[in-house]
Structures are given as structure tokens and as C-alpha cells.
Amino acid sequence: MRTSEFIAALAADPVPEPIHVGRRFAAALAVGLAGALALYALFVGPRPDFAEAVDTVRFALKFLDALALALPSLMLLVRLARPDAKPGALGLWLFAPLVLLAFAVSVELAVTPSGEWMKRLVGHNWMYCTTMIPIMAAPILAALIVAMRAGAPQHPAWTGALAGAAAAGIAAFLYASHCPDDSPLFVATWYPLATLVCAAVGALAGRRFLAW
């Protein structure tokens, strides 16, 4: 087939309804969040001493760290829907949660006796943490991947991994209100592990569903 003949078929194709990738993202986020909240309400729930915990720095830090992961990765994800996108300064913000964690860990190490360290790192709930964050992230990740299919990301696997990290950030925000382990030693060990699981699943999904 000559290219000019092929172009005739393309030009005859009707102008589609405009696709707004940003709006699709917002819708996907709403749907995914609803799924995650449903899982939270059914299986997780807030910890009994939530009201007292709110006032402690360690507890608040868990939410801050989850947001520091979720926000820049979501914003970068929207940008990467375009094939000519460059991560730019937003890419650097992905290091924010790591810097925050590193800082919190060094303070924790300074203020707690070394005999406590291992106990705080292992905590009570590491198994539940590394399972529930990915489970609550799953509906968010699925919705983000569906929305992203309207886009044309340069690197489908990396983009999928980023979607996984964003979903993990949101799920970690929810999970943080349940978990009794507040030490930065616990948070810096198990939350990133859960995030890596989500990013790996996201990378596989991206390779499979975001190629164009």
C-alpha cells in the first residue's frame, strides 16, 4: 500500500471526541480511591488510639511521607502522558520522600537508645503493612493504567512503575492511620518495600498495557 493511499484512510477517519487526559486522570483517581477506601473500611480501619496518636510527630510524619510520594508521582504521571514530555524538576521531587525518611531516621537514631532500634524496626505489623498497602493500591493502580492508555508515554514500563508508586503513596496514606508502628525505623523499612512491590507490578502492567 502506498503511503498516500494509507493517508487517505487516515484522513477519512472522523475527528474523535476530544480526549482530555487530565480529566480521565481525575476520574480514574476518584474511582481508584473509592476502591481503596472500600477495602480500608472493610478490612483495615483506623487504630483504636487514633485520637491520641494524631498529636505525635512520628504519627504525623507517616502521612507527610505518603503525601510526599503520592503528589509528585501523580503530577509527573499526568505529564508523561504526552510523548514529548520531559520529567524536568518534577522528577527531582520524587526524591522528597526519601530525603524526608532519611532525616527522620537519623533523628530517631539520635533520640532512641540503640537497644530499641531493632525492636522498633521490626514493629508489630510489618507483614500486614507489606500486604495491605499493595492490596489497597491495586484498584488505584488499575484505574491509573486505564486512564493512561489514552496517553502515549515514551517509556511504558517506567511510566507504569511510576503509577504503581503513586498508588502506593495513596494506599500508604490510608494504611498509616491503621498501623500502630510509628517509628521512622519501621516506616523507612517496610513502606518502601511495599512501594517497590507496587512499582514492580506497575512496570509489568505498563509494559503490557501502555505500549502504543
Partner: protein, 186 residues
Amino acid sequence: MPLESPPGDPWSKMMKTAIAGDEGVYRRLLEEIGRSVRAMARAAFARARLGDADVEDAVQETLLAIHLKRHTWDPSQKLAPWVNAVARHKIIDAMRRRGARRAENIDDFEDFLAAPAEEEPHALSDAKKLMETLNPRQRDIVQSISLDGQSIAATAARLSMTEVAVRVALHRALKSMGAAWRRSVS
């Protein structure tokens, strides 16, 4: 040294007009983009010692991707860099499929903006093969509009379909050709 975009940035205007529904302008725009993509693909294939035989496939695949993904272009930006990104992506795919290593080494699209018009090769292209993956009705419609140069209206009349149904079938056919092309990569 990359060339400057054509003065006045005519492509961006043409794409806006095309998205507003002007078929003639859209066709001219795709012809012009195709010419530059052809030069870009030819240079990339030559550097990877791949020969010219499949260049036209890469061009057609790029044009199809431009068509199906044109909503990811931000109209407040120039069109050429966006086309460059799509073309790179598709040319790299096409080269990998043919076993090229170091496929990333591709000149910037802007170097080919002023590519001269040349005789378009009559390729035994993938597009023809991919049409065989379509269902008979879709294949008939794509063939009628591309190879036979029929209008939507004439095709609809011949197949006793409404024009809307023909357009919907054409759109589905193009999307599934895009998917089939992708499958041939992996």
C-alpha cells in the same frame, strides 16, 4: 545542528484546522509530515545498516500513531517536537523489530523538516498484511477508501451502510491495525 521549524510554524495551524474537521488540510499535513519522517527513517536505517526496504513501513506506522494519538499534542506548543517524539518512538520500534542494536541513535526530526519531495516507493508494506487481520467488512472499507480512493459516501452506498457506520468501522479498523502492528514488535 537542527534546522529551525518552518517560519510561522504552519504545521501547528494545520493540525488545529484538521482537528476542527478539515479533511483536505489534514491529508496535506500528513503528506508533509510523512515526507520528513521518511527522510528521518531512511537516515536512521542507513546508519544501522538496515537497508531501505522497510522504511515505508516505519513511515506508515508513524503516521498511524500520529493519527491515533493526536489528542496528546498540546495545541499551545509547536507540533514539530511532538511529531519528533512520536516518530523516534516508532522508528526505534521498527528498527528493533529488524534486529538493529543501538537503535536509539537517531537524528532529530527537525533536521528533516525541509526534506525534498521524492518519488514515494511502492512498498509491499506491512499495512497490506495487517489488513488481513481485520474482519472482512473492515478490510473492505479500508481497501475501498485507501487503495481504491473511494469516498466515505460512495463506500457507504456500495455496502448499503450509513456513512456513520462506515466511519465507525473505519476507526475501529485503524485502531486494530495499530494494535496488530504493536503485536508484531513483541
